[in-house]
């Protein structure tokens, strides 16, 4: 089922909109996305589910400007992405990423890692610090600010990554298997925190996951298979 039409209604602003997007690797021998249509409204939480290799992560990477589609168009916040242009760097300030692996820099402290996006964006140091303290409080990291990354638990590292992703007040948060490296309990706690922050910040959230128990807690559950969106189910 093609869900593009459902989210092209002018009454609701489509923060993410992908239309007829194709993506393949190895000179087209590995087809990952086959003319996919996908959209998400402001403040909506969407879970992308499906077997490995179905294109969930690829779709998130394309929406986040980390990869280039072979064909089709992607719009973020109403503006079409122009791949290979400087606008993609600006997109990084509007889109936050959380990956399965935390992707923190081990030589920096928790605080320094979190401040990286503000350094990139040239944010005033005081404002950045204020924002960080606010997020650190919310994510329960306030007592670990000066800790090197190696001394943090897996859950704390992932919370640090979440904190960092939200530093520039993005309008969109993309997460690729965000609980994939956590045990069940930590995973539950982390996802609870993530949804809470998404709601507080009022941002659009899209997540690729295998964990259906988490997926059903999102506003929408999008099923993907063989590079296509087959169904859209309300959680």
């Amino acid at each position: 089922m093609n869900d593009a039409a459902e989210y092209s209604s002018p009454a609701q602003l489509a923060v993410i909109q992908a239309a007829d997007v194709w993506k393949s690797y190895d000179n087209g021998s590995i087809k990952v996305l086959n003319g996919i249509h996908f959209g998400a409204h402001a403040g909506q939480t969407v879970a992308l589910c499906g077997p490995s290799g179905c294109g969930k992560s690829t779709l998130l990477h394309l929406v986040g400007g980390l990869d280039t589609p072979d064909r089709g168009s992607i719009s973020v916040n109403g503006a079409p992405l122009r791949f290979g242009s400087g606008s993609l760097r600006l997109l990084r300030h509007e889109v936050g990423f959380v990956f399965q692996l935390h992707n923190l820099i081990p030589d920096l402290t928790l605080e320094e890692n979190c401040l990286l996006p503000t350094v990139a964006a040239g944010t005033n140091r005081r404002d950045a610090r204020e924002r960080f303290m606010q997020l650190a409080e919310r994510t329960g990291l306030a007592h670990r600010l000066d800790q090197p990354i190696q001394k943090l638990s897996g859950g704390e590292r992932q919370r640090t990554a979440l904190c960092r992703a939200l530093m520039n007040r993005p309008r969109i948060l993309l997460a690729d298997e965000p609980t994939g490296s956590l045990d069940e309990r930590a995973s539950e706690q982390f996802f609870e925190l993530l949804l809470e922050l998404v709601e507080i910040e009022g941002i659009t959230f899209a997540m690729a996951t295998h964990d259906r128990a988490l997926a059903v807690r999102c506003d929408r559950l999008v099923e993907m298979r063989d590079g296509r969106v087959y169904e859209t189910a309300k959680a």
Binding site: H61, R92, L104, E112, L116, V119
Partner: protein
């Protein structure tokens, strides 16, 4: 602060590699500083020989080397009588060899020559100079390496001469040379009736231009230049200086290649980190800034260490007995600045390709690769 930490972190993470890079630049800087300073010192000493207490040098035009210049005695005598001239002294340069010493510079001078007048006479009497054609004066170093004393006979080239006196001058080349009466030198070098140059002191310095014009008018084959003009235009000096900078430049280039190699390794080993910075919105300029900043710091540290090593090396060379007097330990400020600037430019240039490579890192691929 975080930006600076990102630069420093990698340098501290690979301390040995950083030290090797710093050492590469340091030794390059030291080599350049030492070579340039020593050669410039040598040029300055040679220029000092030419100028002595004069202000102008008169020599034959269109000669590539002053040893080939012929200034007639008659011309020097005429110059000496010009009203604007305080004194004009002929000097004949010649090079001979002696046992175990392939090069000894000979100066054919008159008793009134500034070198003779201003030298410290360690033994022998100045008043006896030029009274006997076969009596010569040895510079202190020449006397040392010939193991000669006043009254003894020494062989200089194919001739045998009596040692009249031993003198010390402030110039290494003169201290390592032999002073002969002008006529003795002219006969010895088969250049009767001519000298290599005439050094001229004017009564009034302001008359330089008039003197030069007068020389040009009266002696079309001769050229008169002020000492500074001569030092800047003499092709041998230019060649020596260019050689010094070229040798030093090659050293610096090697240091730069070392930095380039280090920075490439640095980029390769931190691909993941660069990808993470990319994911966090770091621009091309910011990524390049980290790489170039790293190499800039290495270059600056290397340049600072190189200056210390170079200055120590020059000082040490000054006290090596065999080089005594030949090494001018006066390091010119502009040479130090030029060497440091060149080191930084070379170091940063060496990091251009690594920086270019770094900004082309595609975050997703780099993370997948890791």
């Amino acid at each position: 602060m975080i930006f600076l930490k990102l630069i420093l972190t990698n340098l501290l993470r690979h301390r040995v590699r950083t030290l090797i890079s710093v050492a590469g630049i340091a030794f390059s800087v030291a080599a350049m500083l030492t070579v340039v300073t020593i050669l410039q010192g040598a040029v300055a000493m040679f220029a000092g020989i030419l100028s002595s207490d004069g202000q102008l040098i008169v020599f034959e035009g269109n000669v590539s080397d002053l040893f080939l210049s012929n200034v007639p005695d008659d011309a020097v005598r005429q110059l000496d009588t010009w009203p604007m001239v305080d004194h004009a002294d002929p000097v004949l340069f010649g090079i001979v060899s002696s046992s175990d010493h392939p090069i000894i510079t000979c100066f054919g001078v008159s008793p009134a020559d500034g070198r003779i007048r201003n030298a410290t006479w360690l033994s022998g009497s100045r008043g006896d100079f030029a009274k006997n054609d076969s009596a010569i004066v040895l510079g202190q170093r020449t006397a040392e390496f010939l193991n000669a004393k006043v009254g003894e006979q020494v062989q200089i080239g194919h001739g045998h001469f009596d040692v009249l006196a031993i003198i010390r001058t402030s110039n290494g080349f003169e201290d390592g040379g032999v002073f002969m009466p002008l006529t003795t030198a002219q006969n010895f070098f088969h250049k009767q009736g001519v000298s290599s140059v005439a050094t001229v002191k004017l009564k009034n310095k302001e008359d330089s231009a008039a003197f030069k014009h007068a020389v040009q008018a009266k002696f079309p084959n001769l050229i008169a230049l002020e000492d500074e003009e001569f030092n800047q235009s003499y092709s041998q000096f230019k060649t020596l200086k260019a050689t010094a900078w070229a040798i030093g430049g090659c050293g610096l280039l090697l240091g730069g290649l070392g930095v380039a190699n280090t920075m490439i390794m640095s980029v390769f080993t931190r691909i993941r980190e660069i990808a993470i910075l990319r994911l966090n919105g770091f621009s091309n300029g910011q990524i390049a800034g980290i790489i170039l900043g790293e190499s800039g710091l290495v270059s600056l540290a290397g340049a600072a260490a190189g200056l210390v090593i170079g200055l120590d090396a020059i000082l040490a060379l000054k006290f090596v007995p065999a080089l005594h007097g030949y090494v001018d330990a006066h390091v010119r400020l502009y040479v130090m600045v030029a060497v440091v600037v060149l080191a930084c430019i070379t170091g940063v240039a060496g990091a251009l390709y690594p920086a270019f490579y770094a900004i082309r890192v595609r975050a997703l691929e780099a993370l997948r690769f890791e």
